[in-house]
Amino acid sequence: MGSTLTLVAFWILFVLVVASALAVVLLRNIVHSALYLVLSFVGVAGIYILLEAEFLAAVQILVYVGAVSVLLIFGVMLTRRGNIRQSNLFNAFSLAAGVVSLALCVLIILALARTPASLPLGSWPVDTVGALAEAFLGPFVVPFEVAAILLLVGIVGAILIAREVKEDK
């Protein structure tokens, strides 16, 4: 891929991700926010493809776009109440939150301006899936199993918390 083409693709994805993330935060209808969140996740998957991490992009689509956002939309639909147009308002601390976020943004941009930009692009393994499999079942096998147990415990815990409690006399 040519380097200008990569740059153009990056900026298109940048605008897509940032604009849809801003829409998630600023829109007043939470259903619209959830749908823009899906768009933002898809844009991040595009960024992964640009980084030549295709497996991560596939995982992003499967887990975030397929599962997490559907779960969030389920949450919205199960708890919605009152006027849906006013369902995603700001809380009492929005001014302080804006100041903190803006300050952090300025800090990050200042730090990035001091960072040397000309880092060489290293040679990525062509077969990232194979390399990932060797990493997961080699040096990272214990964290891998712990993550599996965490997933199981988390899902069982979520079912326990969300379960309808029967009123017994």
Partner: protein, 102 residues
């Protein structure tokens, strides 16, 4: 020429937007959405650092996948808590969730 700083800038901006969403929204589900945006920003940073600084090993991608697993668990448990909150108070506003006193 695309550099590491491009990706770091995207990650930083996305993180700040997610932070603002997580801090400033009233609806608990919107707070969860902000947290998801922040985790996505972290994943972009992990993948970009891996790609540019240490491309021989895929450690950054391994970490990103662990973050995705933890994010999925977090959203499941968080939504369960929100649904339970809604059952008790008929409301998902974080301003109203003031059971803890000091």
């Amino acid at each position: 020429m695309i550099t590491l700083n491009h990706y770091l800038m995207l990650g930083g901006v996305l993180f700040v937007i997610g932070l603002f969403g997580a801090l400033a929204k009233k609806n608990a589900i919107a707070v969860l959405m902000g947290i998801e945006l922040m985790l996505n920003a972290v994943n972009i940073n992990l993948a970009a650092f891996n790609r540019f600084l240490n491309p021989d090993k895929v450690v950054g991608l391994v970490f990103a996948i662990f973050v995705i697993v933890v994010a999925a668990v977090e959203v499941a448990v968080g939504l369960a808590i929100v649904i339970n909150l809604y059952r008790q108070r008929l409301n998902t506003s974080v301003d109203e969730a003031d059971w803890l006193k000091w």
